[in-house]
């Protein structure tokens, strides 16, 4: 393997946002009081912008290298070195991670700028930006870490920031509960992640090369290919463990429950953390370890199935939600499902491609939703919106563009990436998973246009007072929206497939990481075109249906839902009752066992302890009586008053307990010693 090129600027890409977080976190309250919110915005946004510029610089540097030599590394110091475990703090950049840092600092930077407007009225402005910067740092660390343990710092670090930002308005317990839920569900995944790390390190260590560094794992993984534990291949088990981590972070069924609740945070947070970046960490992790996953076909099938099911089921939930952000949340879960479907089909490049385009259009949708919510004075119920298109012209435009991109209509960005995934899974033989993904594409087009029609079209349903106050957002919020909408429009050009006359540039860019795409072998071009037409068709069908129900009202929404009324509708509206199920089993179960533990301590162990203490006291009391009435009687008979003082001393009972304990135990063990020494 080539030695990567040493650099000394990668660290700044990662550490600059940490600096911003440090300044605002420790001194923010004072800065805000002394110099106003401008100072906070300056401290927070500058590092991210510089990181973005440095990321472009790094990208240019990579571009200048031969494709197979595109690795940059920046080693700082040895973090942990014990036995054969050697972990350095080192950042590395290859074609995969450079795309991630561009998205994180690029989209993240735009969201920082948008937040200046969105959070303007909040008194804890400094705290918001400190956590947003800290998040950016942790996310950058996650993608640039050159080993699993360092990645795990970023992995849990982003989870922590997510917790802190979901519960940002902590005075309301709805928010803090959502934060707790996010952190704890993620922790379940994190345990899986940790066990995966242990298993990989342990098996490589058995093979003589214990390591957690990505490049070394890649080099030595052939050594553990046939190793087994508990009758399962270690690679299969390790990849499954790691996938549990990915399910937690990327909200895949059955660990998806935290993400919709996470919408309690400020909307830019939903855009950055719960749509564009953090939730894609699981996808990134699998792509990063593609060499491992490719050795575990059964894990890949599991991933593809979980991904497809998630894509489909959460899209169905999205159909009936009325909260503007919840629809987008279920949409995110669903789109992440597509990315996992891609991973499971071994189409890593397609998955990351969708990650990138999704970051553009979903961030755009969330930020636009934020603009709507702010215009509507924090109203999030779509049933109370409608007809906003003239009042919010820019927001309407950006929402529409991003919505079309999500619906997968060409030539918008989402079309190319989603279609690539569907095609790759079909050609990979995952027909069932493809069918789910295909159906979900129709549902996606339906729910997003249902939303667009409910929010922007039709007649206004808000009360006149709110209606009169609706206004377009300030420029500082509109500008990021326009940029993201533009990216949602053209982002697909990164990966135009060959059948459409493109050259799939992004796939070639990733070749040094994922290897050459294997799907070329005589794939029938006609079939690819047919499937493409089908998925555009089902998308258009979804849009038409939404149009007929929610705008033309030819099919009246109420009749439609009453047609599907009763059990199915309630099931969807109540999100398949998964939350209730978990509450009843895991949460109640844990609390039950915790009470059992406390009960055992109080009534069993302490009963024995107190009982033995009381028994000892009782015995010593009897002894005291014996002393007083029997021994003393004899003693007094023999010699009258000499021992009077001694008797009084002996009545102190605690003293007696100790001495009796000593005597009894001493005698027992002395007997043992004697026995030992004199019985050979």
């Amino acid at each position: 393997m080539d030695h990567p090129i040493q650099t000394d600027y990668l660290r700044w890409i990662v550490l600059l946002p940490l600096l911003g977080a440090g300044i605002n976190g420790l001194l923010g309250a004072i800065l805000q009081r002394q110099f106003g919110k401008r100072a906070i915005s300056f401290v927070a946004c500058t590092p991210v912008v510089i990181s973005f510029l440095l990321s472009i610089w790094a990208f240019i540097n990579l571009l200048a290298l031969d494709p197979e030599k595109r690795f940059l590394i920046d080693s700082l110091y040895t973090w942990i070195s014990l036995g054969s475990l050697n972990v350095t703090v080192a950042f590395w950049l290859d074609p995969l991670s450079v795309v991630m840092i561009l998205v994180i600092t690029g989209v993240g930077g735009l969201i920082h700028i948008y937040s200046i407007g969105y959070m303007q009225e909040d008194e804890a402005y400094w705290r918001y930006f400190a956590f947003l910067n800290l998040f950016t740092f942790a996310m950058l660390l996650l993608v640039t870490a050159d080993n699993l343990l360092l990645m795990f710092i970023g992995w849990e670090g982003v989870g922590f920031c997510s917790y802190a930002l979901i519960g940002f308005w902590y005075r309301d317990h709805v928010n803090t509960r959502a934060g707790n839920k996010a952190f704890i569900v993620n922790r379940v995944g994190d345990v899986g992640f940790l066990l995966g790390i242990f298993l990989i390190y342990w098996s490589l260590d058995k093979a003589g090369h214990g390591t957690v560094t990505f490049r070394e794992i890649e080099t030595f993984v052939p050594l553990i290919k046939d190793l087994e534990i508990w009758g399962i291949g270690v690679v299969t088990l390790a990849t499954l463990f790691l996938f549990i981590g990915a399910m937690g972070k990327s909200a895949q069924i059955p660990l998806h429950v935290w993400l919709p609740d996470a919408m309690q945070g400020p909307t830019p947070v939903s855009a950055l953390i719960h749509a564009a970046t953090m939730v894609t960490a699981g996808v990134y992790m699998i792509a990063r370890l593609n060499f491992l996953y490719s050795l575990a076909p059964s894990t890949l099938t599991v991933i593809a199935t979980v991904g497809a099911l998630t894509a489909f089921l959460s899209a169905t939930i999205g159909l009936v939600q009325n909260d503007i952000k919840r629809v987008l949340a279920y949409s995110t879960v669903s789109q992440l499902g597509y990315m996992f479907l891609a991973m499971g089909a071994g189409a890593y490049s397609a998955g990351i491609f969708h990650l990138v385009t999704h970051a553009f259009f979903k961030a755009c949708l969330f930020l636009s939703a934020g603009s709507v919510i702010q215009a509507m004075h924090h109203e999030q119920d779509m049933q109370k919106m409608g007809g906003l298109r003239w009042r919010l012209p820019y927001t309407h435009l950006t929402y529409l563009v991003a919505g079309i991109a999500l619906a997968g209509i060409p030539p918008f960005a989402g079309f190319f990436s989603k279609d690539e995934i569907l095609w790759k899974s079909f050609s990979h033989g995952l027909i069932f998973q493809w069918a789910l993904g295909f159906a979900a594409a129709g549902l996606t087009a339906f729910y997003i246009f249902r939303q667009i029609f409910l929010v922007f079209y039709g007649s206004p349903r808000a009360d006149p007072h709110t209606q009169s106050l609706v206004h377009e957002s300030p420029q500082i919020m509109v500008l990021p929206l326009l940029i993201l909408a533009f990216l949602s429009l053209i982002g697909g050009s990164l990966g135009v497939p060959e059948v459409l006359g493109g050259s799939n540039r992004i796939e070639h860019w990733f070749e040094p990481v994922f290897g050459s795409p294997g799907g070329h072998e005589n794939a029938p071009v006609a079939m690819e075109i047919l499937l493409m037409a089908l998925s555009v068709g089902i998308g258009l069908f979804g849009i038409t249906l939404a149009y007929l129900i929610y705008l033309r009202k030819t099919l009246v929404a109420d009749t439609f839902s009453s047609l599907a009324a009763g059990v199915p509708y309630r099931l969807l509206f109540q999100k398949y009752y998964v939350d209730e199920l978990y509450q009843f089993t895991f949460v109640r179960g844990t609390l039950f066992f915790s009470r059992v533990g406390a009960w055992i301590d109080q009534y069993i162990i302490d009963f024995i302890v107190d009982g033995s203490a009381k028994t000892t006291t009782f015995i010593s009391w009897v002894n005291g009586l014996f002393d007083n009435y029997v021994v003393d009687w004899i003693v007094n008979k023999i010699a009258d008053s000499t021992f009077g003082a001694g008797d009084k001393f002996r009545k102190i009972q605690t003293g007696n307990i100790n001495s009796y304990l000593y005597v009894v135990l001493g005698a027992v063990v002395l007997a043992i010693i004697v026995k030992l020494r004199y019985s050979g």
């Binding site: 309250a29 803090t176 704890i184 922790r187 066992f593 915790s594 135990l665 026995k675």
Partner: protein
């Protein structure tokens, strides 16, 4: 300097106690400052130790040996190796900060500080003693002041708690004394010198004793002694089922006493096992490691966490979190891998720092609200933002958030344990979910949510309280980023220790 540095560290607080005893008892501030003055030199000297300690040497350094009672081969014999130096530093730091955390004590000030300083000497003495007799003396010296500190300056059920603590530990030390005597008499010539006892460890018989119950259990002499020592130490750790003294003692003890109780005293259990059981009785250690260290440790992790979740008293919750976190130490040391044992000792250090913070933080709120009922607060973040920020740091450190110190030791323990006991490592790892559960739930109930009407005007954390917390907070962050500050100190000794036991593993 190098010869007497440990003696100075041990006896400075004792000198302080004598000084305090000569002060007029109504001059409270003078007593406090004099106490602080006498705990500062040990801290500075342990920094000196930290700088001058030879990190590549696994054996004892800064050794001082003076004949004490020659008739019984008893010496004044002190020294530190990688295992004990981390504990000496921890003790010096926590005791110094605890003096400032005791500022609010206004009943029997003179007695309190005198006893506290005596406790300091006792604790440090335990960690540096290389003579078994001396070790035992310090062990008992530490016990008495603790009994009185809880029993006199404690809360409403202080007498029950103090007696419970005293009886539990006394029971343990009786067994320990017998074990020490057994070792003393089986060595020729009779000696209390730990280094000599370690050197002869091969001679302690493992042949099964031929009468009940030992023949049934398959125990030899070595196992019996091991068990006697282990019970003594397990009470201190505290390992299930010997742990119930801890929550009671903590709830009743004043803040600073809780800090040293959890921060330092608990470490003596695991320290004793590593210092004595491991090298002196390696064969028995190997035989018992799975059930009594590994499995019991994993059980401690889960059981302690579950009990913590059920508590309504904030201090009791923190106390049970100690039961849980000390489980990681046991699990780590049972693995006999470099990561496991180093992780275990690092966890001892980290737990001392983090739990010290936690108890100090509980003290801050107790001093203001005069209760610790978790459900009786709410929304403190609005009223006391800085205090809440520091609490969040301590909570997340205790949860093992990566980037903070607790993570490093927990992950090392679990990684090390995985090599030998995969299932135990999995159980231990799942403990981090429960830990997150009870800490976040506490965070939510006490600090977040709408501010409680009753506590709208609580004063923010003050300078003195911050002074006790900030150094610990800095250590938590620094060790998370650069754990080798401590790992370098401990690793050569611990790796050597592993090598003593490993040949006996079957």
């Amino acid at each position: 300097m190098a010869e007497s540095v440990l003696t100075l560290i041990v006896f400075f607080p004792l000198a302080g106690m004598i000084a305090v005893l000569f002060l007029p008892s109504e001059r409270h501030n003078l007593i406090r400052w004099v106490s602080a003055l006498f705990t500062l030199p040990p801290l500075l000297l342990s920094v000196w130790l930290f700088v001058n300690f030879d990190r590549s040497e696994p054996g004892f350094q800064f050794v001082q040996k003076v004949a004490w009672i020659p008739a019984y081969n008893i010496d004044y014999f002190v020294g530190v190796d990688g295992l004990s130096i981390s504990m000496v530093i921890l003790t010096a730091l926590l005791c110094f900060l605890s003096i400032f955390a005791s500022w609010g004590i206004d009943k029997g000030v003179k007695g309190y500080f005198a006893l506290f300083l005596l406790l300091d000497t006792g604790m440090t003495g335990v960690f540096v003693s290389l003579d078994f007799f001396l070790f035992y003396i310090f062990w008992e010296v530490m016990l008495l002041p603790m009994y009185f500190l809880i029993g006199i300056w404690g809360g409403s059920r202080r007498e029950y708690a103090a007696i419970k603590f005293f009886l539990y530990t006394l029971f343990g030390s009786v067994l320990m004394l017998l074990a020490i005597l057994a070792l003393y008499f089986t060595t020729e010539p009779h000696t209390f010198d730990m280094t000599k006892l370690i050197a002869q460890s091969g001679k302690y018989s493992t042949t099964v004793i031929s009468f009940w119950p030992f023949d049934w259990l398959g125990w030899g002499f070595q196992h019996v002694v091991w068990m006697a020592l282990f019970i003594g130490f397990a009470i201190k750790i505290p390992a299930f089922p010997f742990h119930t003294w801890l929550p009671d003692a903590h709830v009743e003890a004043p803040t600073a006493v809780s800090v040293v109780l959890a921060g330092v005293l608990l470490k003596m259990g695991t320290y004793g096992i590593l210092r004595i059981n491991f090298p002196m009785l390696p064969a028995a250690t190997a035989d018992f490691a799975f059930y009594l260290l590994g499995a019991l440790g994993a059980w401690n992790i889960i059981y302690g966490a579950l009990c913590a979740m059920a508590q309504t008293d904030l201090k009791k919750l923190v106390a049970y979190s100690s039961v849980s976190h000390m489980g990681y130490v046991m699990l780590g040391m049972a693995a006999f891998t470099p990561q496991g044992i180093n992780g275990a000792v690092l966890q001892m250090f980290n737990h001392g720092i983090i739990t010290g913070m936690l108890f100090l933080l509980v003290g801050v709120i107790y001093d203001r609200a005069h209760h610790r009922n978790i459900d009786g607060f709410g929304g403190l973040a609005t009223v006391m933002p800085i205090y809440t920020g520091v609490t969040a740091l301590a909570f997340f450190a205790s949860m093992g958030l990566p980037g903070l110190s607790g993570f490093i030791s927990e992950v090392l323990v679990l990684l090390g344990a995985w090599e030998r006991y995969q299932v135990l490592a999995m159980i231990g790892a799942s403990g981090i979910i429960l830990t997150a559960g009870y800490f976040l739930w506490t965070m939510q109930r006490v600090y977040l949510g709408p501010p409680n009407e009753k506590y709208q005007s609580l004063p923010e954390i003050n300078g003195r309280e911050l002074f006790t917390l900030v150094p610990l907070g800095i250590i938590v962050v620094v060790l998370g980023v650069y754990p080798h500050a401590v790992l370098d100190l401990i690793s050569s000794t611990l790796n050597h220790l592993n090598q003593i036991v490993i040949p006996h593993l079957s």
